[in-house]
């Protein structure tokens, strides 16, 4: 039974902020199959193509038949907790600071046994459900959950190390003018965020939903024009030390590729808003977030980007926009590596065309802004890194795995 976490008190200004430390980082190349699974919230093990054996840890040959045909495949999660132990004085700094820490030996119904971090409600000898999670090093680790939901389950201390749960955290949503931004604010408040700062650029321009947004409790509208370096720096000077989660809801979608556009001003706007806006935010807010990665219940935890799935494969109908998104995707990987020492996750939420005015002429299926907001909150609660929202995004993801060249030709048809 887990005691619910309580809203953290204000910090004692005489105390030094605990600096982030990282759990062990080294992994083999083959083990990054687990990293990918954890990033997407899937449970995958290597499976032998010849004899069907699931195996763990990652290997180069099947332990049963020695075939080299080992492929990561979705695996059943049901398992049994054989035995557990509690580490009271670990040698590793990260775990020592978090001791006591429970781990256990788990027998999977599909075969392998593995050592896993334990949710507090897992009982020795009882059934558990497995997942792979990204730890504060960004590496995949096995995590055992109780089979059924238990009270205050998400407040488990060891589980919260694996996630970026918005509960009692302070969030900056960068653009409150868009429907996606407004839905995100609502979803984060519902998920227990203690305060949501909402950026509004050019406050002299009225916008739809403004009155509702202004009336929401625990929501504070702040001036933020992410295309403007100074505006971003000014806001960071005010609240940079208390942004635990940053959700970049910038939205600047324009149709068109290269040849039918005159001049570069639209392209420039796209880059200013999407790419440079990202740069401004990262430079202003990133350093403090990285430094505050272990700062208690409301430590800095995650940075969320909403990216078009066409960042992965250009859709020439929105060709220049796709390219700006690809630039942001590349930048997100740099940010991810740079925030990793702080244990701050970078979550990329990939969407197909949204059900907003700028995709008006695009036929369905389109993604409802509310679905994007729900996916963001779900990713934070589950500690995911790469999320695909809606049928189009999932379709592109799968087709890219199968044949990237085919995707290029088909999107350009």
């Amino acid at each position: 039974m887990i005691e619910p976490i309580v809203k953290p008190r204000r910090k004692n200004p005489l105390k030094r902020t605990r600096l982030p430390t990282s759990p062990p980082r080294a992994r083999s190349r083959a083990s990054h199959g687990f990293t990918r699974a954890a990033a997407e919230g899937r449970f995958m093990l290597q499976r032998c193509g010849a004899c069907g054996t699931f195996c763990y840890p990652a290997r180069d040959a099947c332990p049963t038949c020695l075939s080299a045909d080992l492929v990561f495949a979705d695996a059943p999660r049901r398992s049994k907790l054989l035995c557990e132990t509690t580490l009271h004085v670990p040698a590793d700094v990260y775990f020592r600071e978090r001791a006591p820490w429970r781990v256990g030996l788990v027998a999977m119904e599909c075969g392998p046994r593995l050592v896993a971090h334990l949710h507090a409600d897992c009982e020795e000898g009882g059934p558990v459900v497995m997942s792979f999670q990204l730890d504060k090093s960004g590496q995949a680790v096995a995590f055992a959950h109780p089979e059924r939901e238990t009270p205050n389950m998400t407040d488990d201390r060891q589980w919260r190390e694996m996630t970026a749960d918005p509960k009692f955290r302070r969030v900056l949503v960068t653009n409150g003018r868009s429907i996606v931004g407004q839905e995100t604010v609502t979803a984060l408040k519902a998920a227990g965020a203690s305060i949501v700062f909402v950026g509004v650029a050019e406050p002299w321009k009225p916008f739809q939903g403004e009155d509702t947004l202004r009336a929401m409790e625990g929501v504070e509208i702040v001036p933020l024009d992410i295309g403007d370096e100074k505006s971003v720096a000014d806001l960071a000077a005010d609240i940079g030390g208390k942004v635990d989660i940053l959700v970049n809801t910038t939205e600047h979608v324009r149709a068109g590729g290269l040849l039918d556009r005159q001049g570069t001003s639209i392209v420039r706007d796209e880059i200013d808003q999407a790419y440079l806006g990202f740069v401004h935010l990262a430079q202003a807010f990133g350093p403090a977030m990285r430094m505050r990665g272990s700062d208690g219940v409301n430590s800095a935890a995650a940075w969320v980007n909403i990216l078009s799935v066409y960042a992965l494969a250009n859709w020439p109908v929105f060709g220049a926009y796709s390219a700006s998104q690809a630039a942001c995707l590349s930048l997100s990987h740099s940010l991810r590596a740079e925030l990793r020492p702080g244990g701050v996750k970078v979550v990329n939420v990939f969407t197909g065309p949204l059900d907003i005015e700028w995709f008006q002429t695009v036929p369905p299926p389109k993604v409802a802004p509310r679905a994007v907001a729900a996916a963001i909150v779900s990713a934070l609660k589950r500690g995911l890194e790469d999320v695909f929202v809606g049928d189009v995004a999932e379709d592109i993801r799968q087709r890219l795995i199968a044949n990237p060249k085919a995707v290029e030709r088909e999107l350009g048809a």
Binding site: E202, P203, W204, K205, P206, P223, D225, G227, D228, E229, K230, S231, G263, S265, I266, R268, D269
Partner: protein, 261 residues
């Protein structure tokens, strides 16, 4: 004027006998800019990016990179800005005659009417009434429309509603009349444009732009401190940046006003 006269003038500026009034808003990223429907190209907003500030990027010096559209902040419109002035000679900010950058102004105070009606339109009868008190508007003078709009907060200043901006400006007849019958050198306002917020619905649309620039005249907008100017007798110094083939530019607009004593 001999050099004595010019020296006398310089002395008067130095002594305060001629007062210098700054009619310019600070050029900053948060100042409202003209909003067009999003499918059109947009004016780049004002951006100020620091290159260095006595730091690792430049230990002893502070400087910035700037980006902005030609029509941001307190700015000047040249005839080439509008299709009606596109074929005129010397119609861009780099070629317009420099002597036009210094000219006297008539200030029409419509602040009371604008306070009553955001869509107030300046008409010929309003100016004729002004002329009864202050005399006929002389040739090659600026006509500046005082509305006290510059004293508003940004939201009320832009005053955007779901049917567009609601800000005061001139009607079509008065613009044609000012250009053809009064030969003004230009027309200036405190609002975001020389035209009224709803001027797209006038005939012709945006008559200030249409007639001013078609006649080779100039526009000034986003002016402030017009309440410090006398109805007549002020001299405007308005020199836009010399941008190659530029359609306009942010600038410092100064008014020289007879001071006390």
């Amino acid at each position: 004027m001999d050099s004595n006269g010019l020296m006398q003038f310089a002395g008067a500026v130095a002594s305060g006998a001629v007062r210098v009034v700054d009619l310019t808003f600070t050029l900053s990223p948060d100042f409202p800019v003209i909003v067009l429907p999003p499918e059109f190209g947009q004016a780049a907003p004002v951006r100020i990016q620091q290159i260095s500030r006595y730091d690792a990027s430049g230990p002893a010096w502070y400087w910035n990179n700037l980006t902005f559209g030609e029509h941001t902040g307190t700015h000047f419109d040249a005839p080439i800005h509008w299709f009606t002035g596109k074929d005129l000679p010397n119609n861009a900010v780099d070629t317009l005659p420099v002597r036009d950058m210094i000219a006297p102004a008539c200030v029409i105070d419509c602040s009371a009417q604008a306070a009553q009606d955001a869509d107030f339109l300046l008409t010929i009868p309003v100016i004729e009434a002004w002329e009864k008190n202050h005399g006929r508007i002389p040739e090659r003078h600026w006509v500046l429309l005082r509305t006290d709009w510059s004293k508003k907060g940004w939201r009320d200043y832009a005053n955007l509603k779901d049917d567009g901006a609601h800000t005061p400006g001139p009607d079509a007849a008065v613009m044609r009349w000012l250009v053809e019958e009064r030969s003004v050198i230009g027309f200036g306002t405190e609002t975001i444009g020389t035209d009224a917020g709803q001027a797209g619905h006038l005939d012709p649309p945006y008559p200030a732009h249409h007639f001013l620039h078609g006649g080779g005249r100039y526009g000034l907008q986003c002016l402030c401190n017009l309440d410090q100017l006398p109805p007549t007798g002020a001299v405007i110094f308005a020199a836009p940046l010399k941008i190659q083939n530029g359609s306009g530019s942010p600038l410092r607009v100064l008014a020289l006003v007879p001071g006390q004593g």
